[in-house]
């Protein structure tokens, strides 16, 4: 009986504490597909959530490791706890989120990486393809074997787009080099990432890039004194003498922008049907580097300055300067240059982007072809 009474008192205290603090603040819920400690996708979203809570008068809640098919009850729960805005952060949450947007027309929903919208549901994505191109320029300059390894998660348009952009960068400075791809069919599997890297090492690759949520590829390469690019989170610290650069994300730029507009009344549950954030370097949603604020690991700067290439646009130029010129062009508003500017043929010689054309967002999110220089299996490759 005494325990019961103590419990009751505790519940009351908690209820008051939660209620009192939340009165003035907008409640924002986040649904994550993985654990927040995954050192990748979910970790990055959670970092952004913390920044949002510091910078805006909002209160945040989150649920981690939500199975993709079970997103609806978790959304329901967040709404019951008072969430007025709900972000779902995995492609597989798309249909469940739309379903709930229809059921709760006054709640605002945001879905990352998808393409379905509603009057109260917008979409957002911070994409890396420009950064991968810059990584490719450096990889092409630093490889000695002219073989570059890429460990890919799933053969889907997003990953293919990144590998293609990377390979276009590699070939822009090193027409002899090839990008060897191995697929592991997992977003997180250190053992697979490790053995795939070992397989690529055995075939002579000496620079590595990857899509997987652990620093395995970096560590395996560094043990053999081979170079690599960090992916998603700041992973340069795992191999400070071997990580050249990488891709970093700032989801908070999107969350802050959107929530500020919700707070100011510009966005509400009626006018989101055409709101799609496809944010890149220019919006500062992504960053070049293996560590925040370090676009290129300083120990590689001299080698990149010594590597010189002939370019149509800038004449004879060092790869270091080329990276910085391209970075500046893509960071400008409006963007002055895009890696997927035609003419681009795929590895089979089929013209994919006509001269003078730039790929649209719709084309980028559905692309399946492989860029020249890509070697290895490529499921669903168009003929």
């Amino acid at each position: 009986m005494r325990i019961l009474r103590a419990c009751l008192a505790l519940i009351l205290v908690l209820a008051f504490a939660a209620g009192g603090a939340a009165q003035a603040k907008l409640k924002v819920g986040f649904i994550y597909v993985g654990p927040i400690g995954d050192y990748g996708w979910t970790h990055a979203h959670d970092q952004a959530r913390r920044i949002v809570e510091q910078k805006l008068p909002v209160q945040t809640m989150y649920v981690e490791s939500v199975p993709e098919a079970q997103v609806q009850p978790f959304i329901e729960k967040l709404i019951q706890q008072g969430a007025r805005v709900v972000f779902t952060t995995s492609f597989g949450f798309m249909d469940g989120t739309l379903e709930m947007a229809k059921r709760y027309p006054t709640i605002i929903f945001g879905h990352a990486s998808g393409f379905k919208r509603h009057h109260n549901m917008f979409t957002y994505m911070a994409d890396f393809y420009q950064v991968y191109y810059l990584n490719g320029l450096m990889a092409g300059a630093l490889t000695r074997s002219h073989k570059i390894g890429y460990v890919g998660a799933f053969p889907i348009p997003e990953v293919k787009r990144h590998i293609d952009a990377f390979a276009l960068g590699v070939r822009a400075v090193n027409p002899r080099a090839t990008v060897h791809v191995r697929w592991i069919f997992s977003w997180f599997d250190p053992a697979k990432a490790k053995e795939a890297t070992e397989a690529l090492i055995a075939e002579g690759a000496d620079v590595f890039a990857f899509t997987e949520d652990s620093p395995t590829v970096i560590q395996v390469a560094a043990r053999r004194n081979l170079l690599s690019f960090s992916h998603y989170s700041p992973m340069q610290r795992f191999a400070p003498r071997h990580v050249i650069s990488g891709q970093l994300v700032h989801w908070e730029t999107i969350y802050l922008d959107f929530l500020a507009k919700v707070l100011s009344g510009r966005y509400n549950a009626e006018n989101l049907a055409d709101v799609d954030y496809w944010w890149l370097l220019a919006e500062k949603a992504v960053e070049l580097g293996g560590e925040f604020g370090v676009p290129i690991n300083p120990i590689f700067v001299d080698r990149l300055k010594a590597a010189r290439v002939q370019t149509r646009e800038f004449g004879r130029i060092s790869v270091y300067d080329l990276v910085n010129r391209r970075l500046a062009q893509m960071s400008a508003k409006p963007v002055k240059w895009d890696p997927f500017t035609g003419p681009i043929r795929d590895r089979n010689g089929v013209l994919r982007v006509p001269a003078g054309k730039v790929m649209t967002v719709a084309e980028l999110t559905t692309m399946e072809w492989a860029a020249p220089g890509v070697v290895g299996p490529w499921p669903k490759e168009p003929k």
Partner: protein, 291 residues
């Protein structure tokens, strides 16, 4: 010709590297199941071992000490399972699954602070742990088939009432086997974090515990066959990435699992197994007076 030799040598190194953690964990499961206790908590014990080994190795700079800690933590986790399965006589499958979830959750919670830290001193991938694992397999095989302890252990899994009747404590035998199994699984997990990777990441075992259980079963609960199963799987797992140049990756994903099972099952038909099928009392709690 030289290329072929290089290929074989490279694959063998990979086979031993990934085979090592699988072997240690599989040997542990062989002993636990031989005593009559199924432990589906291998994944949980391995991840706890991986975390303990990393934390200790990181703190004290000694990976070997990390492995000892992993053995201790794995043994403790297994003790929990033994208590539930042997003393409380609860459902072993449920208890084991709970242990897996507990291990994954607890290591994730405790491990947050260790995420992303480098490890200065590491063990080589093919090391004393690898050869120790093979020697251990021979030793465990010898004990199992050629000593009175082995008879008691096997009998506890086949006919616990008979063991009880000759005055051997069935519960004690099962406790010892399960705890030993947990210690070995812990070392297997520890090897992942101080030698194979080497670093700590939440959930880093990513299913290897389940593969170890499968190896124990398809090796017909024989320590020497477990060596073959673990090394074979390790090599094929590596080849499934190496061969992607020539074979589509989708079917290749299944290849290591399919071939390992086929090979071990075919070898099992040779008649070397002295008992037909699984231990008779596997998964059944023992209590005196019940059939």
């Amino acid at each position: 010709m030289e290329a072929v030799v290089t290929w074989i040598a490279e694959t063998l190194v990979r086979a031993l590297a990934l085979g090592t953690p699988l072997l240690w964990a599989a040997l542990g499961e062989v002993y636990a199941e031989r005593s009559g206790v199924v432990n589906l908590g291998v994944e949980g014990m391995m991840i706890l071992g991986a975390f303990a080994a990393f934390a200790v190795a990181q703190t004290f700079g000694r990976p070997e000490v990390g492995l000892l800690a992993a053995a201790g933590v794995g043994g403790l986790a297994a003790l929990l399972h033994a208590f539930v399965a042997v003393t409380l006589r609860a459902n072993q499958y449920v208890s084991g699954l709970a242990l897996t979830m507990l291990g994954l959750g607890l290591s994730a919670l405790l491990g947050r602070r260790w995420e992303g830290l480098p490890l200065l001193n590491t063990l080589p991938e093919v090391s004393g742990v690898t050869f120790g694992g093979v020697l251990l397999a021979v030793l465990l095989w010898f004990v199992l088939y050629h000593t009175a302890w082995g008879v008691a252990l096997r009998s506890a899994g086949e006919a616990p009432a008979a063991v009880d009747a000759v005055g051997i404590n069935v519960a004690l035998v099962r406790y010892l086997a399960v705890v030993l199994g947990g210690m070995l699984a812990g070392v297997g997990g520890g090897f992942l974090s101080v030698a194979y990777r080497p670093s700590w990441t939440e959930g880093m075992t990513a299913g290897l515990g389940w593969i170890a259980i499968a190896i124990a079963i398809f090796a017909a609960w024989d320590p020497l066959r477990a060596v073959a199963g673990a090394v074979l799987f390790g090599g094929l797992f590596h080849l499934s990435f190496r061969l992607q140049t020539w074979i589509p990756p989708e079917p290749l994903q299944l290849m290591p699992f399919a071939v390992t099972i086929l090979v071990l099952a075919a070898a099992g038909r040779g008649g070397a197994r002295r008992w037909g099928g699984a231990p008779e009392a596997l998964g059944l709690p023992y209590s005196r007076g019940e059939p």
